[in-house]
Amino acid sequence: MNTLAEAWHWLGDPAHWTGDDGVRHRLAQHLVLTVVCLVISCLIALPVALVLGHLGKGGALAVNISNVGRAVPTFAVLVLLLLTPLGRYGEGPTVVALVLFAVPPLLTNAYVGMREVDRGVVRAARGMGMTGRQMLFQVELPLALPMVMNGVRIAAVQLVATATIAALAGGGGLGRIITAGFNLASTPQVVAGAVLVAVFALIVEGIFETAERLAPRWVRGAR
């Protein structure tokens, strides 16, 4: 418990919050990194998943991409990208590695959500003379929304957690507080950094949880 007390003491020191290595700057970097990667991943994964789900094709593809994604270490991808010409562009490798990491859960959840929409409802919509586009946006997507959002939530929390790995390769974010602590052999700083990241991840999880509770009933689904 002594270490926790020291970590608390570390966090309480205002000197650790300011400057380029300070908590405030690292927190902002972490937030920007997470949001940028989440938006890019959603822009890539969701249209593909929704269209494939609407057409009912590519299920095996979605599941396999998800499985392969789990087997490839993010750290390895990050370092590989760092050694390519892309490595010269600051946060470029980190963003690419994190996007590659976030796409699989988004893709799988959105695809499964679209396929789980009651086929009877879809047939009824077609019988009413809806076009494919209308069916996708007015029937299937609203019904699949809880699953789609669940994928976004999983991706967001994992991104917050995984963005720390960027620090191993010299990137920014809260991970830097941890790696700096390792290099200084300062256990309180390491623990303080870890607590910050964990709290950040739990806050993101909490925001999604609250948004889900406050959302209208049809968004939450009938669970």
Binding site: V79, L80, V191, A194, A201, L202
Partner: protein, 226 residues
């Protein structure tokens, strides 16, 4: 003065045969450490997860807390997890194993519990009618029937563990991750690519191996359609 050798190592190419032949022992040692860390972590995780899942199944009130705690553990980032455990284990292989165990718990407990809950009530009643006590019921009926769901969780947990071991490089016990980390600092392309590919190969091989084990230990799930 001799001219520097003009081979793929000197040119720092991504794919390099000379790297494989000259660093064979280093690669084999890293793979051995990687496998060792993964296997121990998954086995310990299994040893902790099975009793937890059985407890959560027996007493309904225990399910909520058990699932909540394991989910929170899963949210903690790997780098942070290793650092949080640092005061307890110090810079050691045990630190990496402990972190991996905590990660595997969510996946394992959830899947084993789902498997146990999926055992049909009639099956349990039939066994009870045959005079099975609670222990025999658990060991000979419920646990075997939960195996397919548990194996699904075990496969995901193992594949994730293989890729997470690399982060252990920060404390020097990362198996192939050590080579990736060292290769990053020296811009040694062949080493980074070789180690990364080996990680994926290990993960895929482990997945296929577990699939085979599942096929062998659940004979009742096959042949029904054949």
């Amino acid at each position: 003065m001799t001219a520097p050798p003009d081979d793929c190592l000197a040119r720092n190419e991504w794919i390099c045969g000379a790297y494989l032949s000259t660093r064979r022992q280093i690669l084999l040692d890293a793979v051995a450490q990687h496998l060792q860390l993964t296997v121990i972590a998954v086995l310990v995780g299994l040893a902790v997860a099975v009793p937890l899942a059985v407890l959560a199944r027996r007493w309904g009130w225990a399910a909520g807390p058990v699932l909540a705690v394991t989910t929170i553990l899963y949210t903690v980032p790997s780098l942070a997890m290793f650092s949080l455990l640092l005061p307890v284990y110090g810079l050691s292989a045990a630190l990496v194993v402990a972190g991996l165990v905590l990660y595997s718990l969510t996946l394992l407990v959830r899947n084993i519990l789902a498997g146990l809950r999926a055992v049909p009530e009639e099956t349990r009643q039939a066994a009870r009618g045959l005079g099975y006590g609670p222990v025999r019921l658990l060991l000979t009926v419920e646990l075997p029937l939960a195996v397919p769901a548990a194996m699904a969780g075990l496969r995901i947990a193992t594949v994730s563990a293989v890729s997470l071991v690399t982060v252990g490089a920060i404390v020097g016990f990362g198996g192939l991750g050590n080579l990736i980390y060292a290769g990053m600092n020296t811009y040694f392309k062949a080493q980074v690519l070789t180690a990364s590919v080996l990680c994926v190969v290990i993960a895929v091989a482990a997945d296929l191996l577990l699939l085979g084990v599942q096929w062998l230990i659940t004979p009742w799930t096959r042949g029904a359609r054949g």
